[in-house]
């Protein structure tokens, strides 16, 4: 067994931070320009595709700048300051300060993230220009405004020079996610999903905020440049490298545990993953960009960025590994039993994010980053393919109602790119980038002694992933040709025929659901009768092809020479971690069933993946004659018994949370409300009532008769005189 004490941790970024060029500030600034432009368009009532083109222009420029940043990068991180955001000082000679700049910290991790964020945002913006065209003049400007705002927030999150900037971006992307999930705001489920996403994320954000506070209190700074170069942290890292965790203060060890909560919220990990599947209510480009490729990797970014902080805690990284692996497994089991293809993709995102966290947890930050990188492309591709199907079949997403899509006219590109995406997700040997990045994580998981079971869990998950991915592919894209359109065509159909692709998704559904007039219903049936799916247009196809190509381009970037180019990028950043074994023994010191995991994992994972595909083929393709029924799968379902039903109901986690948290809190709120009304306010009212009750008694004395008053006056006077006389006689 390997002792952690025998590892040497080095930190590449302890070089002092230099100055980054001023123009990197344009990267967040350009999307902000896009926000302003789209707002102006909204005010002017622009009805064309102008907002989309402005967006693509701004984001494209930002992407170009991100490439320029890559070319101009050197080893040392750079900081550029826009303005002073916070600066509060106190103490002797104002020696103590709480300060944060509004500025950016550029190292290679930043560049890596910004490259795929801006690149994918540009591509998906282009896709959305067509996808959202039915909303031109209505929500079109709003959509692209939030889209730009998202890229701005994401840039702040990734490029921020301190934890507060990260927090700004963190909640900013949460806001955009909220706005975009709830884009079809007339649909109650979309509104509820947006709300859920924001609130669940807020729970994570609380952890993140507390982590930031503790970082400040413990290290006295939240600027990355100062924090990672501080002697204090370097000292801890040395202690940690030698296994002397008892020398590190508990406060420092608490920091990663708090940051982790934030990361789990944003990246949809246990126990805070429940918002992501619901987030699929948003328009598909949003699901692809925000809820698959970029925003949800923010948690991974946070852990990678704060990797040195995570290393000073004995329990933080193992906890990350376990949570990641459990999430990966749980989400995969749920994904296996769902019928909505977009939801399946959502659960696969949760599951793949679990892989990334497990990768970080087992100390292969390179593997994790590589998986983030490849996943960004292939998952965006998968979502956009699903979006194309949804677009073409009037919002139909149920895999029991679609079959053989790839064989239909005009759907070839979608079919092929979908296959490429699926193979990547499964990790098909050698020819897919997903294979290389996933293997790095899997292999390393078996190397870590303390987290051996994590490796097995991840390996099983890889098999499940292969199954549910190809379940979708075999059900929807191949097999007998059959389709039932979704609920969103109707009145739009005629209009849409001219454009080929101008209606879509949840939007139209609500319009009709609440006006069930008989006449309308017959129109509805009629529409079903002559429904023709709309094959995707040029913009969608182009974007799909580019993304599919990118998944191949990514292979050499992650595969060659221990993580390849991505490895190099991580190497020059705070996420860099290098384990050198004191004994000189290489990774060969740990064995998986008698073999070196790094060597053998390439074969094992390939076999597991292929086995998963084979099972999917056997259950969902072989012998299937219609869309709705796959005899083999149903036979299997009977064997699986209640497990299948539980998985289909997502293991009742939502219900459990409602039961454990939401409902008690709601009851408590009602109790508080009545306490406030009856007890707290009741006491006040009693205090007000007492004098008036007393007055009610006394008022009888005030009978309003002049003589009575005069009499009591005289009596009072007499009494007074008597008392005075008595006193005088007493004293005399």
């Amino acid at each position: 067994m390997l002792d952690t004490g025998h590892m040497l941790l080095t930190l590449a970024s302890d070089a002092p931070a230099g100055a980054a060029p001023w123009w990197v500030m344009l990267i967040p600034a350009l999307p902000m320009v896009g926000v302003v432009l789209c707002t102006l368009f909204a005010i002017m009532g622009v009805k064309s595709k102008l907002p989309a083109f402005a967006t693509v222009g701004c984001l494209g420029l930002a992407c170009v700048l991100a490439f320029a940043m890559l070319l101009g990068s050197d080893d040392a991180p750079g900081v550029v300051k826009a303005w002073q955001w916070f600066d509060i000082s106190w103490g002797e000679g104002h020696g103590q300060t709480f300060s944060a700049i509004f500025g950016f910290y550029i190292d290679r991790l930043t560049i890596l993230w910004m490259l795929f964020v801006t690149g994918l945002a540009t591509l998906i913006g282009l896709y959305a220009s067509e996808y959202m065209s039915h909303d031109q003049g209505q929500g079109y400007c709003r959509f692209f405004m939030a889209f730009n705002l998202f890229v701005f927030s994401m840039s702040c999150l990734v490029m921020g020079a301190n934890m507060l900037m990260l927090y700004l971006g963190w909640e900013g992307v949460g806001l955009c996610s909220y706005l975009l999930i709830g884009y079809f705001y007339k649909k109650p489920s979309a509104v509820a999903a947006g709300k859920k996403a924001f609130i669940v994320n807020r729970i994570g954000d609380l952890g993140l905020a507390l982590g930031v506070y503790l970082t400040f209190v413990h290290f006295g700074t939240i600027e990355y440049a100062e924090l990672f170069a501080s002697d204090q942290l370097q000292g801890y890292l040395t202690d940690a490298a030698h296994g002397h965790f008892e020398h590190i203060p508990a406060a420092a060890q608490m920091i990663p545990l708090l940051l982790m909560v934030g990361a789990f919220g944003k990246s949809a990990q246990l126990p805070l993953y429940v918002w992501l599947p619901d987030a699929m209510e948003g328009p598909t480009p949003v699901s692809a960009l925000i809820h698959a490729a970029t925003m949800v990797t923010a948690g991974v970014y946070l852990v990678a960025r704060a990797y040195p902080l995570f290393q000073v805690s004995e329990y933080a990284l193992p906890a990350v590994a376990w949570i990641g692996a459990l999430t990966a497994f749980l989400a995969a089991t749920i994904g296996m039993a769902q019928f909505d293809i977009k939801r399946i993709m959502a659960y696969s995102t949760v599951s793949q994010l679990g892989y990334m966290f497990a990768g970080l947890g087992v100390m292969t930050s390179i593997g994790a980053a590589a998986h983030v990188f490849t996943h960004a492309f292939f998952k965006a591709l998968l979502f956009l393919c699903c979006g194309a199907v949804m677009h073409g079949f009037a919002g139909q997403l149920d895999l029991r109602k679609l079959s053989g899509v790839a064989k239909m006219k005009g759907w070839g590109i979608v079919g092929i790119t979908m296959l490429i995406g699926c193979l990547n997700l499964v990790g098909f040997p050698v020819i897919t980038s997903g294979y290389w990045s996933k293997d790095m994580i899997l292999a390393e998981a078996f190397v870590r002694p303390s987290t051996g079971l994590v490796g097995w869990l991840l390996l099983i998950t890889a098999g499940l992933t292969a199954y549910y991915t190809f379940r979708v592919f075999f059900r929807v894209f191949v097999g007998p040709v059959e389709y039932h359109p979704g609920e969103e065509l109707h009145a739009h159909d005629d209009h849409a025929a001219g454009h080929g692709h101008s209606h879509d998704h949840g939007h139209a559904g609500y319009d009709h659901s609440h006006s069930p007039e008989p006449a309308h219903d017959s129109a509805h049936d009629e529409a079903h009768g002559h429904f023709h799916p709309h094959a995707p247009g040029w913009a969608i196809n182009t974007v799909l092809v580019i993304l599919a190509a990118l998944t191949f381009v990514a292979i050499p970037l992650v595969a060659l020479n221990h993580g390849g180019w991505v490895g190099e990028m991580v190497h020059g950043s705070t996420a860099h971690y290098e384990a050198a074994h004191a004994g000189g023994g290489s990774h060969g010191s740990v064995w998986l069933v008698g073999l070196d995991p790094h060597q053998v994992m390439y074969y094992i994972s390939a076999v597991v993946g292929l086995a998963g595909i084979a099972v999917a083929w056997a259950l969902h393709y072989r012998g299937r004659r219609e869309a709705a029924h796959a005899p083999a799968a149903e036979a299997f379902k009977r064997v699986a018994g209640p497990l299948q039903r539980w998985a289909e109901h997502k293991w009742y986690v939502d219900e459990l949370y409602d039961f454990l948290f939401r409902n008690p809190l709601w009851v408590l709120s009602q109790v508080f409300r009545y306490i406030d009304m009856l007890l707290v306010d009741g006491l006040v009212n009693t205090a007000g009532w007492l004098p008036s009750a007393l007055g009610g008694r006394l008022r009888r004395g005030q009978h309003g008769l002049l003589q009575g008053y005069a009499g009591s006056m005289a009596g009072g006077l007499a009494l007074f005189v008597v008392v005075v006389l008595l006193l005088v006689s007493r004293s005399a």
């Binding site: 916070f86 700004l168 900013g172």
Partner: protein, 541 residues
């Protein structure tokens, strides 16, 4: 020369109040707007001429002897904290007039006169350097507000106005007892009467801890009701629900700040030892307020009541920052006073605009207004997000600073050698429990937005735009947008660039925390413990 600016800012509204009172009713609102705007001119002068290098000093000072035998002087002067609050007051004045433009149709002269007089009284509270001037203005704010609620409010206005008046008035009387005690003590201390707030503060700090404790209790009775701090908050939801829009805006925007300002100026300034001793209790009350009021918000159906309870919850953060007694907490708290004024003031304005169109605030009868009022909805979502504390908007800055202030403020963390910690009696747990308020705030505000803004359009059954007589278009008019834009800009600019404000208040904040640098009763071993230790020492071989 400069010393006329404050009296000018205070007198212009009064003069215009008289003008409004004798003017034809149809000209009242225009005159009132002019008065508010002219009244803001000297405040602009204050903002520009203020010497920010010397922000802790009381500038533009001027005083006139009133009853010298008792040290009574009419003396005015402001430091940067007061300056910012005065600026907030001057900003909200014209906005309130614009917000009431069509809402108040009867007895306009009465309404606008009292609104202007209220403006003077509020400015007086912040500008006072003399205890009696402060107290007179502090109490005088009650009267205009009593009339605004009692005459122009909705159905339960009478009860609401009486409760508002009596509750806060009773509290203030107890506070007066505390203040008078301090004055009496100071007279003994100096050998002559003085009512200058600065002199009183230096004298009060020499009181014994017991005396300070009593004075703290007295003053809190007044200021905590005003804030309002749990459990003294029940007048607020009622008053807000019944008040006319302008009344709610002023109530949330400025009047509540009189309480926190009072705590800042008098409680922290006069009795630091007692504050240090009772900080945990005050912090616990604030936190209970934050969570308790937040949860109550969740089950409200009246939008305005919801926002009113959210004020209770938000002001909890403000008090928490104050009792953290460190630079971050105090700065956050002072910014909170401004930011809450902007965002919650704006929310009340938004609800007023909605109410004018639909004559209901019941979330059961309203919904999905985004499809009918896109401009209104955009502003509503924006201000809700500011109120939720979204980074980049102003609410975040102050909330974050208050929480980090509470987190840092722990003497035991200082003792453990954490460089970012400051002496104090709170700590991480306080920040954690208060932080759950952030989650709760997101919950109730987004649920409210989800019902009112998003979703299917729901309008009240009896609602017919043609015959409601208000002649308002479905969405916001240019006048209403004009009223909102300064607030929205404030929310955005001070969220992204709070440093000018933080820089301005740095000096007074540092002066304030310096008064806490006394020989704090160190957590020395308790006598019994020491004894026990000694026993152990004896028993051990």
């Amino acid at each position: 020369m400069n010393s006329v600016l404050i009296p000018a800012a205070m007198l212009i509204p009064v003069i215009f109040a008289l003008a409004v009172a004798i003017m034809p009713a149809e000209k009242a609102r225009g005159t009132a707007l002019l008065g508010m705007l002219l009244g803001a001119v000297p405040v602009l002068g204050l903002l520009f001429l203020f010497d920010y290098q010397n922000a802790a000093a009381f500038q533009f000072a001027g005083s006139v002897d009133w009853i010298p035998e008792f040290g009574l002087r009419l003396s005015l002067g402001i430091d940067s904290v007061a300056l910012l609050l005065i600026a907030l007051t001057a900003l909200l004045g014209p906005i309130c007039v614009l917000g009431s433009w069509t809402a108040i149709v009867e007895r306009q002269r009465l309404f606008y006169s009292w609104l202007l007089i209220l403006q003077t009284a509020m400015l007086g509270v912040f500008a006072a350097r003399d205890l009696v001037v402060f107290y007179i203005c502090f109490e005088f704010t009650l009267l205009p507000m009593f009339i605004l609620i009692g005459v122009f409010g909705s159905t339960n206005r009478k009860i609401a106005s009486i409760k508002f008046f009596l509750y806060t008035f009773t509290g203030s009387l107890i506070a007066l007892a505390g203040l008078v005690y301090v004055a009496w003590y100071a007279a003994g201390h100096y050998g002559h009467w003085t009512l200058d707030i600065g002199d009183l503060a230096s004298a009060a700090r020499t009181m014994s801890p017991t005396q300070q404790g009593w004075v703290l209790a007295g003053m809190l009775a007044g200021f905590a009701v005003k804030v309002p701090l749990f459990p003294l908050h029940t007048w607020l939801p009622l008053a807000h629900t019944e008040a006319p829009t302008a009344g709610s805006v002023i109530l949330a925007g400025v009047l509540l700040k009189l309480g926190t300002y009072g705590i800042y100026r008098f409680v922290l300034g006069f009795v630091p030892m007692a504050v240090a001793e009772h900080a945990p209790m005050l912090a616990v009350l604030s936190i209970i307020g934050i969570v308790y009021a937040g949860l109550i918000c969740w089950v409200q159906t009246d939008v305005k009541k919801l926002i009113a309870y959210s004020s209770v919850s938000h002001l909890g953060f403000c008090v928490l920052g104050l009792v953290a007694v460190n630079a971050t907490g105090l700065s956050g708290s002072i910014l909170y006073m401004l930011n809450h004024g902007l965002s919650t003031g704006a929310l009340f304005l938004m609800i007023g605009f909605m109410y004018e169109r639909y004559h209901t605030r019941d979330m059961g009868q309203l919904g999905g207004l985004a499809s009918k009022m896109p401009v209104w909805s955009s502003f509503m979502v924006f201000f809700v997000l500011a109120s939720v504390g979204l980074p980049g908007l102003n609410g975040f800055v102050s909330e974050f600073l208050c929480l980090i202030g509470a987190f840092q403020s722990s003497s035991s963390l200082v003792a453990a050698g954490h460089p970012g910690a400051t002496p104090g009696a709170l700590g991480p747990w306080y920040a954690f429990f208060a932080g759950t308020g952030m989650v709760v705030a997101a919950m109730y505000l987004l649920i409210m937005v989800g019902r009112v803004v998003w979703g299917k359009l729901v309008e009240p059954h009896e609602h017919h735009h043609d015959d409601d007589g208000s002649h308002l278009p479905p969405d916001l008019t240019a006048r209403e947008v004009t009223a909102l834009i300064p607030l929205a800009l404030g929310c955005l600019v001070f969220g992204l660039w709070p440093q000018p404000l933080l820089g301005a208040i740095e000096a007074p904040v540092n002066v304030a925390i310096r008064s806490f640098e006394f020989e704090a009763p160190q957590p020395t071993p308790h006598p019994e413990h020491a004894q026990a230790d000694a026993h152990v020492g004896e028993v051990a071989p």
